[in-house]
């Protein structure tokens, strides 16, 4: 009886610990988050089929910390001419007419005590898909990576597989070539890449 009790206890602890560890982590809670946006904007259509570059809308991604969601203006650049009457575009047109901003629903979110900078990663050659997945194939955008601290650290400790030629940053179907590891060594030297793992790198 004590043996049974003992083993049961141990098993229970293990189950709890790892259960919490898995089900409590962003890997489980956050990935796959796919809210319905006010406008059924299709990245598949724009980024995929039409092949627009990410930076057409997310302008500041190379300059600043934030990739920035485009102002209504950007939508109107095209949509004054193309499908101005479309039902789906109604909120956009309203926003433009009433000068009231769109309210998109945030998908990729890190806590406010973690400071992430897009430009730092883009300029070092970490592509969009590395963190955001195949946006060009998403009718509705969803979160594909956990964006958890451990996940960040994995890459910061060993970024080799995620570095690419700078001209292919926004290339959606990029896959590492055979000699990736060799190239990566070169990239690291050229672009002076040494990903920090200090706390202060993100927390301040």
């Amino acid at each position: 009886m004590p043996i049974i009790a003992g083993t049961a206890g141990i098993v229970a602890t293990i189950v709890v610990v790892f259960g919490v560890n898995y089900f409590g982590s962003p890997k489980f809670t956050d990935t796959g988050y796919r809210p319905v946006q006010p406008v059924p904007y299709s990245h598949k259509l724009h980024a995929g089929d039409l092949g627009m570059d990410c930076r057409y809308c997310h302008t500041a991604v190379e300059i600043g910390a934030k990739a920035t969601v485009p102002p209504t203006q950007t939508c109107m650049n095209c949509h004054v001419l193309c499908l101005p009457e479309s039902e789906k575009l109604l909120p956009i047109n309203q926003s433009w007419a009433e000068k009231k901003p769109m309210e998109w629903i945030r998908i990729h979110k890190i806590p406010d005590y973690a400071f992430f900078d897009h430009s730092a990663h883009i300029i070092r050659g970490v592509g969009c898909t590395t963190c955001h997945g195949r946006i060009d194939q998403m009718e509705v955008v969803m979160q594909v990576q956990p964006l958890s601290m451990g996940w960040c650290l994995d890459c910061h400790r060993n970024p080799d597989m995620f570095l690419r030629p700078l001209n292919e940053i926004t290339k959606m179907d990029w896959i590492p070539p055979e000699n990736q590891l060799l190239l990566a060594q070169q990239y690291k030297i050229d672009r002076n890449i040494n990903p920090p793992t200090d706390c202060t790198a993100c927390h301040r």
């Binding site: 009886m1 004590p2 610990v17 790892f18 919490v20 560890n21 409590g24 982590s25 962003p26 890997k27 956990p146 958890s148 601290m149 451990g150 996940w151 650290l153």
Partner: protein
Amino acid sequence: MSLLNHIPKQSADAPLDIAVPMFEDAPLISGNQSFASVTNRIAGVVEGPTPKMWWVLFSFSVSLLMVLVGSVGFLVWEGTGIWGLNNPVGWGWAIVNFVFWVGIGHAGTLISAVLHLFRQKWRTSINRFAEAMTIFAVICALLFPTIHVGRVWVLYWFFPIPNQMSMWPNFRSPLLWDVFAVSIYFTVSLLFWYVGLVPDIATLRDRAKTRAKKIIYGILSLGWRGANRHWRHYELGYLILAGLSTPLVLSVHSVVSTDFATSIVPGWHTTIFPPYFVAGAIFSGFAMVMTLAIIARKAFHMEDFITINHLEKMAKIIMVTGLMVGYAYSMEFFISWYSGNEFEKFAFINRAFGPYAWAYWIMISCNVIIPQMFWSKKLRTNVAVLFVLSIFVNIGMWFERFVIIASSLSRDYLPSSWDYYSPTIWDISTLIGSFGLFFTLFLLFLRFLPMISMAEIKGVLPQANPHHTMYDKPGVAHQSR
């Protein structure tokens, strides 16, 4: 059930036979006790009607417990700001109470384990509730480090659990050692206590009238039948646990002392702390056992089982450990002077003559001066005196921790940040509340579990000696050969 079959048959001239009482200067158990009478007396307490007094005490301590619940609730709600802490003094009463309770928790294991290994028969009368006291004290102790942190809800970061942050605790931090030391100590003490309880619970089970009791005691007694095999395993297991917990008695408080000893605060940074803390712990622990024993034997008329003889033995230990503590105090002063370190020197002069002098002198008088009264046999055999003194010692030991923490922190290196620390109503209520928790648990124990180990008592009865001619007759307490 028969108790005979567990007593090994062996030659009379084997002096260390566990069944045979040691050389005694006085009978361990007074009054005409037989196996049956022992069982009746002790189990009777549990089975009999609840005394009025119990209800009075219980309701009182439960109300104190409510004070604790309230204070802790408000603390978690508002933050540690409700306490009197300030910038230089980051640790206040919470940590004082922690060390205080852990210290109390020492006597139990010491009595049970160490005295058991040394075959000190006289322990049998007090070990059971000494152990109980240990467990409850450690529970109170564990409470304080838990609630004193700023963000209780992330306390699990103390434990090395794999997580998505890929973060581990800092194994260099004494606080982490605490977590392990105290929790291990708690687990082992609990096991030790429970194992010791099993035969008695079985007795209760056999005597139980109501079905509910039968079931509960039945489960708790793990199917104990008092078979020879059971006793053999029991004795062995008990011995092993005793062996396991003996080093813990020393380790726990040594580790607790490293919280202070490893930091650079003048007045904390001394190598004498581990032994000094252990001595202090045993000192206060025995004082607390004394207090409780005196109450219990009075309340439940256990004078036959907890004789003045037992109390005197404890008084002697208190006096000895008291002297050790006194030695440590003086040694601290000597070292600080001898070190020639200005900061150290000041820390101790400041203790004795600074703003916390009042606390320091309370400590000295309670811990060093008053126990000297035990030199006189007259005093150390006087129950009233013992009771009062034991309480003084407890007060003194609480102040020892207060002096160490408050006086050292309030004036360390840079005079610009010196400040005085004084507690708020919430510090006080939390301390009082912790006593509520302690006594509530203890009263429950008195009510529902045998406060004295029946099995072991029987082991030291004269009838337990196979050479006792007519042990079916009520025997006279055995005089040793």
